[in-house]
């Protein structure tokens, strides 16, 4: 089990200056651009024992810190 704080911490590392709330929208708002999202994918696969496939790389999974956490937990179970 991971905490939302861990995920938010990683987002903050990828995008200095951004301090998102757990349900804050990240993608449509442009808070994370494609470069940030690719960096976050690298950080997530480096930190956790998961593989993010092209099919996991979708907007729904990155919309909010909460959605990212749910994806990480789902991928860890797989």
């Amino acid at each position: 089990m991971h905490t939302i704080e861990e995920i938010i911490g990683m987002i903050e590392e990828v995008k200095p200056g951004l301090h998102p709330a757990p349900e804050e929208e990240l993608v449509k708002s442009g808070k994370l651009d494609s470069v940030d999202i690719m960096s976050l994918v690298m950080a997530l696969t480096g930190e956790f024992d998961i593989e993010i496939t092209p099919l996991d790389l979708k907007e729904e999974n990155f919309r909010t810190p909460q959605a990212i956490l749910a994806m990480v937990e789902r991928l860890e179970e797989e």
Binding site: G30, S34, V35, L57, E59, F62
Partner: protein, 501 residues
């Protein structure tokens, strides 16, 4: 023809119900576009003093409405500049200070930002302007006073130092360019272009005016989808996009994730790219999935409207072979000069351009203009202006032009002239490598290869380059990045990399 909007008149009459400019939330037909453009034009022409032969600034997102705003500026006899809403206000202000626009058009979402930037300039709401009853009499009178050497737009390029430079492009430039691009790539009412590039970037001229000339549809692709390659491809399918003109980095995102292996491939028949060097390995991924499609490598600076040379792929290339930039477009003359003399047959020289695509110059910057837009040194019989691109090219054995890098980027290392592109080309093709860029650290006299890869491939790269390149071209340092930085146009951001040296 003397005005770009004659193309719109013709297309709207020929295919009024065909789709014109569409985005995620809005679809327009050519009849709707023609009406919206007239409405915006009427609103602008109604400002005190009008905007004829004056600049109109556009401060909006990349969307269908922004195209109507741009064309509306032209309908009122003005020329437009599209501003980047994501840029820091200081840079936007630096552009506005040079431009001194007669009006600033903005949408509701950016109204507050626009007002704080505008100074004395009147701010017009796009929504209000687009709802203005069209006054075709006024617009016809304005149009009658225009000629083809009047400006259509001023496009600001970053400029390597200091002040942004505004490239002033005429109606004649866009008429000549759009004729070439639509003819060469067979654009027509069945063409659906998937627009990736921002409207303040010269590549979008191909999408917008290629469509205006041919009746093609432009689907403005949501920027965020370039983070999600499979969903991007699904969107292309849903919108029936069949033609792409993207920067190589955007095509590279799909290749890096092998996204075409995970979803139904969109029915693409034409794939064009420009703006930076296309890594051949990424291109080969696309070609393997689209063996019947037309692929072309386009080359040109903003100062030649968009493109002045092109190479349509007619043979196979190995992953570490580079693509030529081919030959001149119609009504473009290309010269290879070493200083003021023509280069010898196999000598590299500066590519210079003459002809109908060459822009008028830099807006309100006579000195910068005189540096680059110069009299043709090899033809003195009558005045003829050429544009010096600052790019090095040579001719290969097949008579095709080959890009050899920037004149001012050339590295002199261990007594040799080195072109970083040659090192990058040799590195591409390495398995698991997503992206790379070679920089020269002058202070330490070292070549540094930045790369992005699914795992650390430093040792493989070192071995690969040792096999392929002479010792003086070996990077002294390999630096793996989580993510290669990209600038607003989607190209690799070399300035950001230089800051990491």
């Amino acid at each position: 023809m003397r005005h770009i909007l004659e193309l719109l008149d013709r297309t709207a009459a020929a295919c009024p119900q065909g789709y014109s400019f569409c985005d995620e939330t809005e679809s327009n037909t050519w009849a709707q576009t023609a009406r919206a453009v007239q409405a915006v034009g009427t609103a602008l022409a109604g400002l005190p003093g009008g905007v004829q032969r004056k600049p109109v600034a556009i401060y909006m997102e990349r969307c269908a409405g922004a195209v109507h705003a741009m064309l509306g500026g032209l309908a009122a006899g003005g020329f437009y500049t599209v501003l980047d809403t994501a840029q820091p206000p200081e840079r936007v202000r630096a552009i506005l200070d040079q431009l001194e626009p007669a009006a600033l058009l903005t949408d509701a979402a950016h109204a507050d930002g626009a007002k704080s930037l505008a100074g004395q300039c009147p701010v017009l709401s796009y929504e209000t302007a687009a709802a203005t009853p069209p006054d075709s009499g006024t617009l016809e009178a304005v149009r009658a006073g225009m000629i083809d050497t009047d400006l259509a737009y001023v496009l600001f390029t970053s400029g390597s130092t200091g002040l942004p430079k505004g490239v002033a492009v005429t109606h004649r430039n866009v008429l000549a360019y759009s004729e070439w691009v639509a003819d060469t790539f067979g654009f027509g009412p069945r063409t659906v272009l998937g627009n990736q590039t921002p409207f303040y970037f010269s590549m979008s001229v191909t999408d917008l005016y290629g469509a205006l000339r041919s009746g093609a549809c432009v689907q403005v692709l949501p920027k965020r989808l370039f983070s999600f390659p499979v969903q991007l491809l699904e969107y292309l399918c849903a919108r029936r996009v069949n033609t792409l003109y993207w920067v190589p980095s955007a095509l590279g995102i799909v290749a890096n994730w092998k996204a075409l292996d995970y979803t139904a491939a969109p029915a693409l028949h034409t794939i064009l790219f420009a703006g930076e060097v296309m890594p051949t390995a990424k291109l080969n991924y696309w070609r393997a999935h689209y063996p019947g499609a037309r692929f072309a490598n386009l080359y040109g600076p903003t100062e030649t409207t968009d493109i002045c040379a092109y190479y349509e792929l007619d043979r196979a290339f190995a992953d570490d072979e580079s693509l030529p930039i081919g030959r001149a477009c119609r009504n473009c003359g290309l010269l290879i000069l070493c200083g003021d003399r023509p280069a010898a047959p196999d000598e590299a020289g500066e590519l210079c351009v003459r002809g109908s695509f060459v822009a008028a110059g830099y807006y309100r910057q006579p000195e910068k203009t005189a540096e680059r837009f110069v009299p043709n040194p090899v033809q003195g019989a009558y005045p003829e202006i050429i544009y010096r691109t600052g790019d090095l090219v040579r001719t290969n054995d097949r008579g095709e032009l080959v890009y050899c890098g920037r004149l001012d980027n050339q590295i002199k290392h261990m007594g040799y002239r080195i072109e970083p592109g040659d090192i990058e080309t040799a590195a591409f093709g390495q398995d698991k490598l997503d992206d790379c860029a070679c920089l020269y650290d002058a202070a330490r006299d070292k070549l540094v290869l930045f790369f992005q890869a699914k795992r650390d491939v430093t040792e493989e790269l070192r071995a690969r380059l040792a096999e392929r390149l002479p010792p003086y071209m070996q990077p002294a340092e390999y630096r793996r990045l989580r993510q290669m930085p990209h600038n607003a146009n989607g190209k690799v951001d070399r300035k950001a990399l230089a800051a990491m040296l």
